[in-house]
């Protein structure tokens, strides 16, 4: 992977309106996000010759998006995938461009995640769920149907072994909610969260309260990837991909005989090798945050906080804007919005571009950013970006 270092760039990012009830189909949202990303890059839709997306049977196809942008691209690709798919598809985009199969790739995630099919469950046939998940017959009859319960099984043991407390989870939540107060487009803009309030909030499923669960929203995000060479002709400030890595580790996606390792543990060394940096070089972070604990676990996996000291790291305020590692600076999926990880990618691009310069949202002097994806404990992907 080191051979692609800084040869590719993200040149456009865009989003649709974010709401609890869009009143339109995911296709409308996807088109809005795609048009915004294309405008951000200063391109024409016809400059895009590959369209890719991921979903969990809850979206529109790249074929449709291309069609209604009036484009007949060379490549359309759709994968079924979880929250590390943005990074995985960006890696695919790089591969397509590197091998001459495409020149410029648009990747989107569009979902009515609140008003339509909800990731958090509900309305599903339990027989369907038993069949849909590998090993589903061994979890669904026991009431374990929510990612909050699945990841909670990892969290309880990890917290027990590493001295992590409810308050440490609270520091993740309050830090991200604080970021959301500077982002008028965040769901929880105007709804700050104090530690006192957090600690009084009951568990939905231990060790998680409603604040530790990500929110659900209707929205679409889009990203445009092209070569560093072509990026020079774009209107936007290109953000270069220094390195990427992805990995499957845990044997079953939905059944766990070992909760002491996650795929991120294996991605981290490959990522730093590809990017040619160390964790100390990173100035700003987007860490996949479907649940607060998932952030703590990844800070440890990626060496962003010393193992065994992750709790102290977040308690010291290091995730805040003036901390050592401002993280999920738009509020993340805990408090900004939920586009299955992609909104965190948009934010890291904007930070590394210094798009917020002159406002209270810019991380000062940030040069290198990390973005991590978590499709579950079993699959992770991550990338390092710089201007």
């Amino acid at each position: 992977m080191s051979t692609i270092r800084n040869k590719y760039a993200i040149v456009g990012v865009g989003e649709s309106k974010r709401s609890k009830n869009s009143g339109v189909t995911p296709l409308h949202l996807a088109l809005d996000a795609a048009r915004a990303a294309i405008a951000d890059a200063g391109m024409d839709a016809k400059d895009i010759d590959a369209f890719m997306s991921y979903s969990e049977h809850d979206s529109c196809t790249p074929h449709q998006v291309a069609t209604y942008l009036g484009v007949r691209p060379g490549v359309v690709k759709e994968i079924i995938g979880g929250g590390s798919s943005t990074e995985l598809l960006i890696a695919d985009a790089v591969g397509l461009i590197e091998t001459g199969q495409a020149k410029t790739v648009l990747i989107y995630r569009a979902m009515n995640g609140r008003s339509g099919m909800r990731m958090g469950g509900g309305g599903w046939s339990t027989d369907l769920l038993q069949s849909a998940f590998d090993g589903g017959s061994f979890i669904i009859p026991y009431g374990a149907g929510s990612p909050g319960q699945w990841f909670g099984l990892f969290a309880t043991r990890h917290m027990h072994l590493n001295g992590l407390t409810q308050e440490h989870l609270g520091h993740v939540c309050t830090s991200f909610y604080e970021h959301a107060q500077r982002n008028p487009n965040a769901f929880f803009y105007g709804k700050p969260l104090t530690m006192e309030e957090y600690m009084k909030t009951a568990h939905l499923s231990s060790p998680f309260t409603k604040h530790d669960f990500c929110l659900e929203s209707d929205e679409a995000n889009a990203i445009i990837v092209t070569s560093a060479e072509r990026a020079k002709d774009c209107k936007s400030t290109p953000v270069h991909i220094m390195g990427m890595a992805a990995r499957q580790s845990v044997s079953h996606a939905h059944y766990w005989k070992n909760v002491d390792e996650v795929a991120s543990d294996y991605v981290a060394p490959e990522l730093y090798k590809a990017a040619g940096i160390t964790p100390e070089d990173i100035d700003v972070a987007s860490i996949y945050d479907c649940f607060s604990w998932v952030v703590l676990r990844q800070l440890e996996a990626y060496g962003l906080a010393p193992k065994g000291e992750v709790g102290d790291f977040v308690a010291a305020g290091n995730l805040r804007l003036n901390g050592k590692l401002p993280t999920n600076t738009a509020g993340g999926m805990l408090s900004e919005g939920y586009t299955h990880g992609m909104n965190n990618v948009l934010e890291i691009v904007r930070q590394v571009r210094h798009e917020y310069a002159g406002t209270n949202r810019q991380v000062e002097n940030c040069e290198i950013g990390i973005c991590t994806g978590w499709a579950g404990p079993d699959i992770a992907g991550a990338m390092v970006l710089s201007k």
Binding site: Q130, G143, T156, H203, S206, P207, H252, V259
Partner: protein, 144 residues
């Protein structure tokens, strides 16, 4: 089993599939059966079409009997039913249990007599079988 119990059971009943039927057939007899790989000797739980440790198709089923003891490896306590049928089981304790005689095997179940206060990592538990219909039973755990 009484008529009343049969009517009341609203929770999902484990689906028997091509790969897991011997496990659930054993559960119906109040026994634990585990899939074992003849090539690498790993126990596979959940079972599958081949060994998840080495890929071998030479897998067999081994009966473990009806006295199954373990320790809580991890757990959650849910205060909301995330699936239909569990509204009367709140708070619901879902535990991953490490078998005493085969620590590499972890079996998820509910701790029927457990709650947030008396369950912890390391708690000793015994497997019991809950009769859920006339001919089906589900392995569960109780605090020892």
């Amino acid at each position: 089993m009484s008529e009343e119990t049969k009517v009341k059971y609203e929770k999902p009943i484990p689906l028997k599939t091509l790969d897991n039927t011997p496990y659930w057939d054993a559960a119906d007899r109040h026994e634990l059966a585990l899939q074992k790989c003849n090539t690498c000797n790993a126990y596979n739980h959940p079972p599958g079409p081949s060994c998840a440790s080495c890929g071998s198709v030479d897998v067999i089923w081994e009966n473990q009997g009806s006295v199954i003891q373990g320790k809580v490896y991890s757990y959650v306590v849910s205060y909301r039913p995330f699936l239909p049928g569990f509204q009367n089981d709140i708070p619901l304790v879902i535990a991953v249990v490490e078998l005493d005689h085969l620590p590499e095997v972890k079996i998820i179940g509910n701790i029927l007599n457990g709650n947030a206060e008396n369950v912890t990592i390391g708690s000793a538990v015994n497997m019991v079988w809950e009769d859920v219909t006339e001919d089906r039973a589900v392995p569960q755990w109780v605090l020892a």
